[in-house]
């Protein structure tokens, strides 16, 4: 058994895999230490440091595919990739395809990765730090896979010249207005900045969220499918969700109006006065 450690870095794994392949080491003889089996099956064989004779030819697409799948955190993170590499380099391209047993697991991981990147794009919530010398906007996010670095480039286009920071329990990114800096271990100061920030103007968004909801169409199951509960605690609107569901249930979902609107005085418009002119004081005093 050969046990390797790639420190969860794709490039390191790639070097190791290239070397293993050149010696035609069968996937059943290798495991990677980060998978928690290092102590149980410590390496009991060794191979020469020089590359072996086998020259593998692999499609270029495979390398991209493997790099993406490598962002998946989970069992056999690296050995699965080696098994795919082994089979494709020995002429079996089905190992990359969803119809194959191994290929379908590979594709499932890639799908999870894309989904998690999408979750980052959707559910990061920036809070402003006006006057700050560092980031103007900070966010705390807890991704389930190693997607932060690659997926956060998305915000460079969105945020223009603003400086922003996203901290997670593991890594962190900071865009300083010119370049994106990734720290594999998120600095404690970043984490504190992102977790302790005050948001004095957060109530606008909460108001919007609770009023755009249509209680007559209550469907919490569909919501949870799209917005998994693990994200609720870091979303400002997350705390509103249980209350809105209960309110809709007890209000028997009669109509779509939010309860805060229902109690307020209404205004019918009569055409007899001609066209209502709404340029009244209300809009002037703001």
């Amino acid at each position: 058994m050969i046990t390797l450690d790639c420190d969860d870095l794709f490039d390191t794994w790639r070097q190791q895999a290239r070397w293993l392949l050149s010696h035609e080491v069968d996937p059943s003889r290798v495991s990677w230490a980060s998978e928690g089996v290092a102590d149980l099956f410590a390496s009991d064989e060794s191979l020469p440091a020089a590359p072996g004779p086998f020259m593998a030819r692999i499609p270029r697409l495979l390398l991209d595919t493997l790099e993406r799948a490598a962002r998946y955190r989970g069992d056999q993170r690296w050995s699965l990739l080696y098994e795919v590499l082994w089979r494709v380099s020995h002429g079996d391209r089905t190992a990359m395809m969803a119809g194959d047993k191994l290929g379908s697991e590979l594709q499932r991981r890639i799908k999870q990765i894309q989904r998690e990147a999408h979750h980052l794009h959707a559910f990061v919530r920036f809070v402003a730090l006006p006057e700050n010398e560092g980031p103007h906007y900070v966010a705390w996010h807890e991704p389930a896979h190693d997607i932060l670095h690659s997926a956060s480039e998305h915000f460079i286009g969105r945020m223009g010249r603003h400086r922003w920071l996203i901290a997670t329990p593991r890594d962190g990114v900071y865009y300083d207005g010119e370049q994106l800096i990734h720290q594999r271990q998120c600095p404690v100061e970043w984490q504190q900045l992102a977790q302790n920030v005050d948001d004095p103007h957060g109530d606008m968004w909460l108001t919007y969220y609770s009023h755009i909801f249509n209680p007559a169409r209550l469907n919490p199951k569909v919501m949870q499918g799209h917005l998994p509960a693990r994200f609720w605690k870091n979303l400002p609107e997350g705390a509103l969700i249980p209350g809105l569901i209960t309110q809709a249930r007890t209000g028997k979902q009669q109509d779509g109006q939010a309860s805060g609107i229902k109690g307020r005085e209404g205004k019918r418009i009569t055409l007899a006065y001609g066209v209502p002119d709404t340029d009244s004081r209300e809009t002037q005093n703001l």
Partner: protein, 406 residues
């Protein structure tokens, strides 16, 4: 009135419009530039409300004061609802604030009709213009178009907005006359035509200013009158054909407070709306026509999906051999989607397709099983009558607990 009060009233008034898509815009980026915002064609759902709907855009009305008296609408002039009006600057402030927080990808702005159609349209355009020109906002903008507005105004709107939409509201002229007397099918279609022409004009002109690059959409209200699904989908099909609409949205009529007698007190089953969306998807992406889905007037079945219903009506097409059949036919097998079809075609170039491949691709095998053949599988259900298959495959509703107070 405080801004937050206006927001609560004008968001509450806007929730009946189903669309919240932010997809289809061209690539724009603010990297290294002043201003804010990006689009890349993909929509983002930034949140979901407990009704299962996506929050992608700040969806508000500029005002819910309205001269019209559309019976199904909570903002009709005879409705006793609180009223408010944003200034264009207020909408701009809210959009930019929500955008920076990453709560939305842009703005979807609509309005009640005040003073005149042209005046209302001018106000909507003013918001979009402020965002694009004064604030260099590159995020998504969807403007609702007031059908009676001057076509020059609609053309101007198209230069600022990614998407324009004119609501058809009701699928037939007769129902429009009864329920929305101030609206006319003629002006609605005229506005769609203006947008369509605008899109066509810049089509092969890379240097022309963009015109509503994410196209136009519309919304139909379902269940406010007794129009059947067949009429609805035939009318959707005509809209897709005549004006190249990107989407037709179906909005199940939602009961409104102090509902007038002309509209029902209860909502249609949400499943009806769901079936319409499924059928609509079959029209847009699977190559079905409305005529194939309906033999005559009537509704879609609620207990089976429209693709399964079609397969049961057309058993002579099945079972299909997955190793030989054309991709467009494979996509017609119930339980097998476009993505799976693609994967099957990819796989069969490498080797024969077997039964267990389908399980791995996570297609809905119980539905698909009677309709395909692989090298190691032939359906024993191939001889079973459609009626029996229907009994086996239809959805059985979960028993519902009654409310304690009825």
């Amino acid at each position: 009135m405080e801004l937050i009060d206006k927001l609560s009233i004008l968001a509450d008034a806007a929730k009946y419009d189903a669309s919240c898509a932010s997809s289809g815009a061209p690539k724009r980026s603010s990297e290294g530039k002043s201003g804010l915002g990006a689009t890349d064609g993909m929509g983002i759902c930034h949140s979901y409300t407990p009704d299962g709907r996506c929050v992608s855009l700040l969806k508000v009305l500029l005002t819910n004061f309205c001269l019209y008296d559309c019976q199904y609408c909570v903002n009709r002039r005879s409705s006793d609802v609180p009223r408010a009006r944003f200034t264009p600057e207020e909408v701009v402030t809210l959009t930019l604030d929500f955008y920076r927080r990453n709560c939305v990808s842009g703005l979807f702005l609509s309005s009640g009709i005040i003073r005149s159609a042209d005046y209302t349209m001018e106000q909507l355009i003013r918001v979009a213009k402020l965002l694009r020109e004064d604030h260099e906002f590159r995020g998504y903008i969807h403007l609702k178009t007031i059908p009676e507005a001057d076509s020059a105004l609609i053309e101007e709107a198209g230069r600022y907005a990614d998407r324009l939409s004119v609501n058809i509201e009701l699928p037939t002229d007769a129902s429009l006359q009864t329920l929305a007397p101030e609206k006319q099918i003629g002006s609605i279609k005229q506005a769609m035509q203006t947008i369509y022409t605008g899109e066509q004009t810049v089509l092969n002109e890379p240097r022309a200013p963009k015109f509503a690059p994410a196209g136009q959409s519309t919304q139909m209200i379902v269940g406010a009158d007794d129009t059947d699904d067949s009429t609805i989908l035939h009318s959707a099909q005509a809209l897709y054909g005549n004006y190249r609409l990107r989407r037709v949205y179906y909005s199940a009529f939602s009961p409104i407070p102090n509902s007038p007698k002309s509209v029902p007190l209860a909502a249609p089953p949400l499943m009806r709306e769901h079936r319409l969306y499924q059928a609509d998807f079959l029209l847009r992406s699977y190559g079905f026509t409305a005529g194939e889905l309906f033999k005559g007037p009537g509704h879609l079945a609620l207990d089976i999906d429209p693709k399964l219903a079609w397969a049961l009506e057309n058993r002579e097409v099945f079972p299909l051999d997955l190793n030989r059949a054309e991709a467009s036919l494979i996509a017609r097998i119930p339980g097998i989607g476009l993505r799976t079809t693609e994967r099957l075609v990819e796989l069969r170039q490498q080797r024969r397709i077997r039964y267990e491949d389908l399980a791995r691709m996570r297609c809905v095998l119980t539905k698909a099983k009677p309709f395909f053949i692989t090298s190691d599988y032939h359906p024993h259900q191939a001889e079973v009558t459609s009626h029996l298959l229907y009994q086996q495959l239809r959805d059985r509703p979960q028993p519902q607990q009654m409310g304690l107070w009825g």
